[in-house]
Subunit: 354 residues, 2 copies
DNA sequence: CTGTTAGCGCGTTCAT
DNA sequence: ATGAACGCGCTAACAG
């Protein structure tokens, strides 16, 4: 909701701003009725050519811009699509949003972007706002069931990205996380590693959970054990400071570990810095693989081996799915797309010494 | 505009979705008139307590969500703020958007985000869309005068970020670019460098131009010359490939250069990679300073000395300025804020050898 | 305190 | 081919 202090849109402010031109103004200027002007500009129905031109000229001259609110009220659809992401400052979500925006704007839709900071409460508030503005659809990286349930319950087409809340009736576009994790871990195994650690996060959601699962599966398939202390789950940590502390303890207690799989870009950054801080040479004393390939990973020396996800595309595909549902006015059969990740081998992974 | 194919919002689709509850529904369910229901929910005017409760209960039960379109049409303000950035995939703009969103959502406004890809045409289209949706205000990183002029001409409060188009009547929040460039170059001079190159971009805008200016000024003040070949302006280059080529040529023809100032994060990345590609050791064979401090700059070895800009804050401040204008319904006296950059010294800069 | 009335700007009947 | 009239959902003014 707009701040209570918000004032009128454009009428009689003390400043000299003239009221925005309305269809009535255009009609009067062109000497026709409002309906005719509407048809002339909208391109529907019959309008004499010279009238049309006159109306268009008037509209141009007056700087007429049709009012979406009015159009929306008529039941036309708002042209707005709500997008809810967890953290815009995280490159992953920024790129996701960019992909969404790209597809949306190409289709003539506008993106309303809300950052929920992984907070279900804020996500719910965002959902309400989208409902209120009659968003034609909503794309989100779910942090809970609330938002999706509310939206779907109101008949708004929803597409979930990267994660799935489990709520039925919405499209889901995700990465094959288990497979990606396997790619990473199998790569390490192939190099000869046997003591492989994982630093993971957000295991309350399927994305993190599946990466952990893939890690375990790969080890199991290779006949390797997964000591509990090889798994560092930072999901319940309190702040970055706490994470660093736990990470330090993790390495202190795992001198046997020769390689680490960081289950997302945030974890990768954390691990990289911890490794650097303790003077552990990468890759000679510890190999590193990241899930999610960010720009810095190819800038550093050695480059970080990473599981590349088509993030921009992920957003684009989700938007496409959603737009298709909007176009069909069909809240029914929701689609599901799983995109394939790809391993990019760089210098951070080598055979263990010895 | 919404795709022409877009269909009705939520009435009689073939699916079973029930029409969204309207104020009338709530009123009927509560056994009152629409106005009373409106007051009860809005908290204005007089309403008997027991009636209020009954209405609120009904609203809750029906999952009533007020319709912004209708409210907007009444002249209430849309609660929407348009934001136009040049490239969401660039961390700089992503963080800027994040800062804007943070402030906006705290004030109860929604951010409509459009990526114009530095294209004036697309920016103009975005501006039209914002006008059409009755955005209460617009924040943008201008790529020309068109968008701002159109908006300001229509009486919409506008705040420009990072760059200034020169159009009067809008707020401007920027970084002291000349000062930042001086910080960078003076640092190099203090280290003993005399042949300092600059790789710059987007000199068609004040931001790039002022950084170039600061570079020149710092050299001049130190009594140093600025050979033309020490300045590489990539503004007119065609694609990244071309930029790389020019960069290679630049270093080939400037063997005397002992330090380079990269005028933004994109240039810094380019320079870093070129230096790496040609096996030039940083900093021993060439020092590097970047304008804009990204995450990777502290990950790499050596870390990149950078001019840090308060990007998130920049977005936040711009949003604050805009909100103040919206609150005052005042398109008049536009404000201007200049934020100070800060030099962060890391390993990429040392005294020249010899 | 409450209900009735009017109108925001637009598109869409339905008559002409 | 054009115009008059209605209503989308809501709130502000006015009666009661």
């Amino acid at each position: 909701m707009a701040n209570g202090a918000a004032v009128r849109g454009g009428s009689s402010g003390s400043n000299g701003r003239r009221a925005r031109a309305t269809l009535r103004d255009v009609a009067e200027a062109a000497g026709t009725s409002r309906s005719t002007a509407s048809r002339a500009l909208g391109g529907h129905g019959y309008v004499a050519d010279h009238i049309r031109e006159r109306v268009q000229a008037a509209a141009e001259r007056l700087g007429y811009v049709p009012d979406v609110s009015a159009r929306t009220l008529k039941g036309r659809g708002s042209g707005l699509v709500g997008v809810l992401v967890s953290d815009l400052r995280n490159q992953f979500y920024a790129e996701l949003a960019a992909g969404v925006e790209h597809t949306l704007s190409a289709a003539g839709y506008q993106m309303v972007l809300v950052d929920d900071h992984s907070d279900d409460e804020r996500a719910a508030a965002g959902a309400r706002a989208f409902l209120a503005m009659r968003a034609d659809g909503v794309l989100l990286t779910p942090v809970g069931r609330t938002a999706t349930e509310n939206l779907v319950g109101h008949g708004v087409p929803v597409a979930e990205m990267d994660r799935r809340s489990g709520v039925r009736g919405c499209d889901v576009v995700s990465i094959d996380n288990e497979r990606g994790a396997r790619l990473a871990v199998e790569h390490l195994i192939a190099l000869g590693h046997r003591d492989i650690g994982i630093v993971v996060d957000e295991t309350q959601w399927d994305t993190g959970r599946n990466r952990l699962k893939g890690y375990r599966a790969a080890l199991r398939d290779a006949g390797l054990a997964t000591p509990r202390r090889h798994v560092l789950d930072l999901s319940r940590s309190e702040g970055v400071g706490d994470q660093r502390t736990q990470l330090t303890a993790f390495f202190d207690g795992n001198s046997a570990v020769t390689a680490v799989f960081a289950a997302n870009n945030v974890m990768a950054e954390l691990v990289w810095q911890e490794l650097k801080r303790r003077g552990a040479d990468v890759p000679s004393s510890c190999s590193l693989v990241s899930f999610d390939d960010l720009a810095w990973m190819k800038m550093v020396e050695p480059g970080v081996t990473a599981v590349r996800q088509p993030v921009f595309d992920l957003g684009g595909r989700a938007a496409e799915l959603l737009l298709a549902r909007i176009g069909r006015d069909d809240a029914g059969r929701a689609g599901s797309v799983v995109l394939e990740p790809e391993l990019v081998v760089r210098g951070s992974t080598v055979a263990p010494k010895g």
